[in-house]
């Protein structure tokens, strides 16, 4: 890791002030909570409080019905005021639940909030040992005793303000990325928006109509695409990908690799070059439903409007150079790397459509099964300006299909192949498309084979009813395979209508597979560069599924949209707004408050072996010239891994030092006696 510019503060001067606090005699207050009967139902709280009373240094031991209630918290505050309690132990629920409530309470009373030790006797004890009430009570006693031992040596932890660079980076310019960039820019924060492809808009621009109101996505997204592209505070880089990410929350330093467009910016996008280019390649943006040239613009309203040359397929015949009226085409453009200093990163890299060729029984993509397509391809056919100018034509013989069969849950809700999760979007997707196809071609019969139709939310039941109204036929059953008659080439879908218990062989001129939403290709390297956790399905893992869905597992990095899990457009936009808001917070405030829970080095014990540096993952320990380790306060994640690595115990994490842990271990492992000598 490159040496960071942040100020490296010598860690041993913190140690100086901490010593003065140690002398003052610990006075511990213990409070045991009934939590209604969640705890009291299993643990005899009175006995536990009584047991805690005669532990050394305990000056107050109470038990109360609801510690987290106003009177409960007041009880803690009073104990500090009246009895001069300088360490508090609350035995109730988990740290994530109410640890902070009590910490804030004692902070209001002037005590440093790290002097509070939360003991969990609910999730770790009463709820899980409901059948062994006696043992649960003993265990609660032991846990409280361990909490007291631990609390005895707790020290103050200073929270410090770290200045942040007022800029943000947004990865991915789909609907979520655009929304996040726009919201951030509107807050006055300069945004660097980078997009892997050559145009912005993501999957939304590929759709024909959006559900449930059947609006045209081009119209609803273009104010945003134009708004962001021409926003004074937004710098847009297409064909760009992340090379490396350094630094920590508030001060990131990102290297971005921008592939050349081989077309300069003075391109008027007149399209002459594409007209004369001999190369024809299936267009990825059109998901293979139309042809594009080696030099192309993905779709007419594409932003940025400059054309882009696809080096892989280009045969370098130079016709585009000669033909271009403004000589914008320039093959000599090189890959540039740019570095940005930003405070927050918002990842909105979107999703990919599941490739159904993995399910062999549906023969997607095999020779002879051209008429088996996915919903996105159907959207591309229906969209205005498509090759089939919004007509649904069979890819094999370009005829209008007499009957269309849609198959749901392709690659979803499947333990054997594909993904286990339900995407939650395909039913809405399929029903909308089915209704549109039925309205355009009334005499084509459209069938949807479903397991469970899942269209929750406002206006979606109407969407479902309107499809039924128009005559879409719904068959409850998951098709087992798509058969093709080798001679006539006809497709047959074999499905059992489980409601009437009859296996059917449906004639199908065209089969549309509702494929799942899967993490985008390239998320692996992106995730590892950002040091961000991914869920078992491969999406980026949110910090907390309910309370913090747009914060990633790493501070300073935020996620929005389908990158966090399959979702529809309205949800992605909502998440993008939230991600922008919490990403902007430290930037607008100008600083980040970080608790200085960092290790301190005892230079007499240190033998300068450098083992702590090798073990430190966030590379927060540097070896200075005289061989002694220096801790970088901001990058340190206070994980404590350096402690066991140190052969002499010279490096000790504040509040997690070896002797504090030892006291807790002794209490919990039955020993019960605190060893006096140091």
């Amino acid at each position: 890791m490159a040496i960071k510019e942040n100020k490296i503060q010598k860690s041993n001067d913190i140690k100086g002030e901490a010593d003065s606090k140690k002398e003052e005699e610990p006075r511990v207050g213990v409070f045991v909570c009934h939590c209604g009967h969640n705890i009291a139902g299993t643990v005899d709280v009175a006995k536990v409080a009584e047991y805690a009373k005669d532990l050394p240094n305990v000056v107050k031991a109470e038990h109360y019905m609801f510690m987290c209630s106003k009177p409960g918290v007041q009880m803690v505050k009073d104990s500090i005021e009246e009895l001069g309690v300088n360490r508090t132990v609350v035995a109730s629920c988990s740290k994530n639940q109410h640890g902070r409530t009590f910490a804030k309470a004692i902070e209001e009373m002037g005590l440093n909030k790290h002097r509070h030790q939360q003991v969990n006797i609910r999730e770790f004890n009463s709820w899980v040992h409901q059948k062994e009430k006696g043992k649960a009570t003993d265990k609660a006693k032991k846990l409280v005793e361990a909490g007291v031992n631990r609390a005895r040596k707790l020290e103050d932890v200073e929270t410090r303000r770290i200045p942040t660079t007022k800029a943000a980076l947004v990865i991915g310019a789909g609907i979520a990325g655009l929304r996040a960039s726009y919201d951030l820019a509107e807050l006055g924060i300069p945004v660097y928006l980078i997009e892997k492809l050559s145009t912005i808009g993501g999957h939304m621009t590929q759709l024909n109509k959006t559900f449930p109101t059947l609006e045209c996505p081009q119209c609803s997204i273009s104010p945003l695409t134009n708004g962001v592209a021409n926003h004074p505070l937004v710098e847009l880089y297409t064909n760009a990908q992340i090379k490396s990410v350094e630094g920590s929350m508030g001060n990131f330093e990102i290297e971005v690799e921008i592939k050349p467009r081989y077309v300069k910016d003075n391109c008027t996008s007149c399209g002459e070059c594409a007209a004369h280019c001999p190369v024809e390649v299936p267009s990825e943006w059109d998901s293979g439903m139309s042809i594009r040239k080696a030099i192309y613009k993905a779709y007419p309203q594409a932003i940025p409007a400059t054309y882009v040359r696809d080096k892989k397929n280009c045969i370098e015949c130079n016709t585009c150079i000669n033909v271009c009226p403004v000589q914008a085409v320039d093959f000599s453009m090189k890959t540039e790397t740019k570095t940005f200093k930003v405070g927050s990163i918002v990842v909105a890299a979107g999703y990919d459509e599941y490739d159904p060729s993995e399910i062999e029984a549906y023969h997607y993509g095999q020779e002879g099964y051209e008429d088996v397509i996915t919903q996105l391809k159907l959207e591309r056919m229906l969209a205005p300006g498509s090759l089939t100018n919004s007509q649904v034509l069979r890819p094999s013989d370009a005829k209008i299909p007499k009957n269309v069969v849609m198959i749901q849950c392709v690659g979803s809700r499947n333990d054997q192949v594909g993904n286990k999760y339900c995407t939650g979007v395909c039913c809405k997707f399929a029903i909308k498309n089915a209704r549109i196809v039925k309205e355009i071609y009334p005499d084509t019969d459209v069938t949807i084979c479903y397991i469970d139709v899942r269209t929750p939310g406002l206006n979606f039941e109407e969407l479902y009813k309107s499809a039924q109204e128009v005559g879409v036929r719904f068959i409850r059953g998951r098709p087992s395979e798509i058969l093709r008659d080798p001679i006539s080439g006809e497709l047959r879908v074999i499905v059992e209508d489980t409601l009437s218990q009859t296996p059917l062989k449906l004639k199908a001129d065209m089969v549309v597979l509702s494929a799942a939403m899967v993490p985008p290709e390239g998320i692996g390297p992106l995730g590892s560069k950002l040091h961000v956790l991914r869920s078992k399905e491969g999406f980026l893992k949110e910090f907390h599924i309910k309370m913090n869905p747009t914060l990633s597992s790493k501070g300073g990095i935020f996620i929005a949209g389908a990158i966090q899990g399959p979702k529809d457009i309205s949800e992605s936009v909502a998440q993008a707004g939230n991600a922008a808001a919490i990403a902007a917070a430290p930037l607008v405030k100008g600083y980040i408050e970080k608790e200085m829970l960092v290790p301190s080095v005892d230079y007499d014990l240190c033998v300068r072996c450098g083992l702590c540096k090798t073990v430190c993952a966030p590379a927060a320990i540097e070896i200075s010239d005289d061989g002694t380790p220096m801790v970088n306060e901001i990058a340190c994640k206070s994980c404590g891994m350096c402690m066991p690595a140190c052969p002499t115990g010279a490096i000790q994490l504040l509040n997690f030092s070896d002797d504090q842990l030892l006291d807790e271990i002794i209490a919990i492992s039955g020993g019960g006696v605190v060893c006096e000598d140091e």
């Binding site: 040091h531 956790l533 404590g640 842990l661 492992s669 039955g670």
Partner: protein, 164 residues
């Protein structure tokens, strides 16, 4: 007005699938110290608690920043002070919030097991597991595994305390 209150057991009681252990071995297990990292380790025990999944009450959880922070000193202290077995439950491999804490602790525990084997103790007293904050049953599965291994060790050689 008596609120219709389902007994808590009925609501969620999900017994652990721990195999049968005869009472005399069971009562030899007073306490098992489990170091759980602050992120996924105690998170999964938390989810197990919220889902009321029962497991052996001898399990005592000590919260540490990361299993990487638990060194041989802490484990030996626990065993010397009367713990019957010690285990570390960290985040799953590759997903440690501190990047490689769980891998480090896995190596340390592997060496420690080798050491105990050479000293003549059974190596089932110290174990390392991983779990995810979302999965309560993984934590309970780990606890069951600790108890089962300890049971086999006790049946074979007796507990750690009596210097097997």
């Amino acid at each position: 007005m008596k609120l219709l209150q389902y007994p808590v057991e009925v609501l969620y009681a999900k017994m652990s699938e721990c195999e049968y252990i005869e009472p005399e071995v069971l009562e030899k297990m007073e306490n098992i110290v489990v170091f759980m990292c602050n992120e996924c380790g105690q998170g999964s025990a938390n989810t197990a608690g919220v889902a009321r999944m029962a497991y052996n009450p001898a399990i005592r959880i000590v919260r540490v920043q990361c299993t990487g922070q638990v060194g041989p000193i802490q484990i030996m202290d626990a065993l010397n002070n009367g713990a019957d077995a010690v285990a570390c439950v960290g985040c799953c491999l590759g997903a440690c919030h501190f990047f490689n804490g769980n891998i480090l602790s896995m190596h340390r525990i592997k060496l420690l097991k080798k050491l105990y084997k050479e000293l003549g103790y059974s190596d089932q007293f110290v174990n390392q597991y991983t779990s995810r904050a979302a999965e309560g049953e993984t934590a309970v599965g780990d606890f069951d595994d600790i108890v089962e291994r300890l049971a086999t060790a006790i049946r074979k050689e007796g507990t750690f305390k009596d210097g097997c």
